[in-house]
Symmetry: C3
Subunit: 141 residues, 3 copies
């Protein structure tokens, strides 16, 4: 029987490229859903964060912010900052680039991920916030 | 009852990083679908455009092209341009990076988006075109 | 009737930004699934590769590695390399940026792709490997 199950993850985030491993949270929601085969869409609600996969180890948690600082510096002259004065133009650009959605196949009640591959939430904003991450599980029970 | 509903959005695009807010178009299709809970996949047909989310305000509409011009300049020496002579190597590279697909959860007939988070179509090509954007809605009515 | 069909693609990959056109493989799995309308999620298992769309022609197969080498050089000082000594920090960063998932609408048994738009697997790792790519087809028969 095909079924849909929705739940949100709430995360306290420090911003400034804070990267959190949310694989466990997503797995917990998948387990509650009772869905066996299908897909799981993980979506960051808001336009200054992103969802991707990463080997969650300390080296990369330092390399990712360094890479983004090089590609999209925090303190360049962004027109967005002239509009709102909140100084987070870079956060919006990083989010548009990394994107806020990730869909992962679900097979026999397991997310199809590599051994070291985690689902991560990246917060590019420049301040502390409580963040909402949408998880939609859809498939057959 | 699980259901699938497909429709395409047609957009006149100026190219050259023209960014259009298609949230209203996607919402209209979701409404027609009658589907209540599930997912919506928005897909740019063609390899010189992209789909992502963005706060659709004038500052960022200027910052995004500036960012892409820095990361993937329009007038560098791309081998693609030697092959076809159409001068849009940068358009293909930007599309491969931003990617042409975005999946958004649908909950109680609403797209799960942040208050300022819009679904945008970005055209990286170097000329005016009519563009097709695929919208697949799938879920339970 | 709604249905889910799962299969994996195995690819010998040379690594070092080896780009392979997997549209034919995905189409073959879609055909076997018997599913007519829905979505197809293509997911690279492992955190040093990526999935996107590309016009698969020799010029771009050279331009994509050049672009990534500029954005995320192979031989910069990555903390990841200090952790593991495997020298593939750039591979993880490129994978986190390009991302490992792509969802494509399926309409009347056809993937909704542009004429020149192919689904490609990009291997950013620095060595030869056999790679697994997950393909989840979901929709109505």
């Amino acid at each position: 029987m095909m079924s849909v199950y929705y739940e949100e993850i709430l995360k306290e985030s420090e911003g400034n490229c804070h990267i959190q491993n949310i694989s466990g949270d997503v797995t917990g929601i998948v387990n509650k859903s009772g869905i066996k085969n299908g897909i799981v869409t993980v979506f960051s609600i808001g336009s200054t964060a992103g969802i991707t996969t990463l080997e969650y180890e300390p080296g990369l948690l330092s390399d990712i912010p360094a890479m983004l600082e090089k590609l999209i510096p925090s303190f360049a002259n962004y027109k967005h900052n002239d509009t709102w004065g909140d100084g987070n133009g870079h956060s919006h650009l990083r989010s548009a680039l990394i994107k806020t959605s990730l869909t992962v196949p679900l097979v026999n009640k397991e997310l199809v991920l590599g051994t070291w591959q985690q689902i991560v939430f990246m917060d590019f904003d420049n301040r502390h916030r409580t963040r909402r991450i949408a998880v939609q599980v859809m498939g057959e029970k």
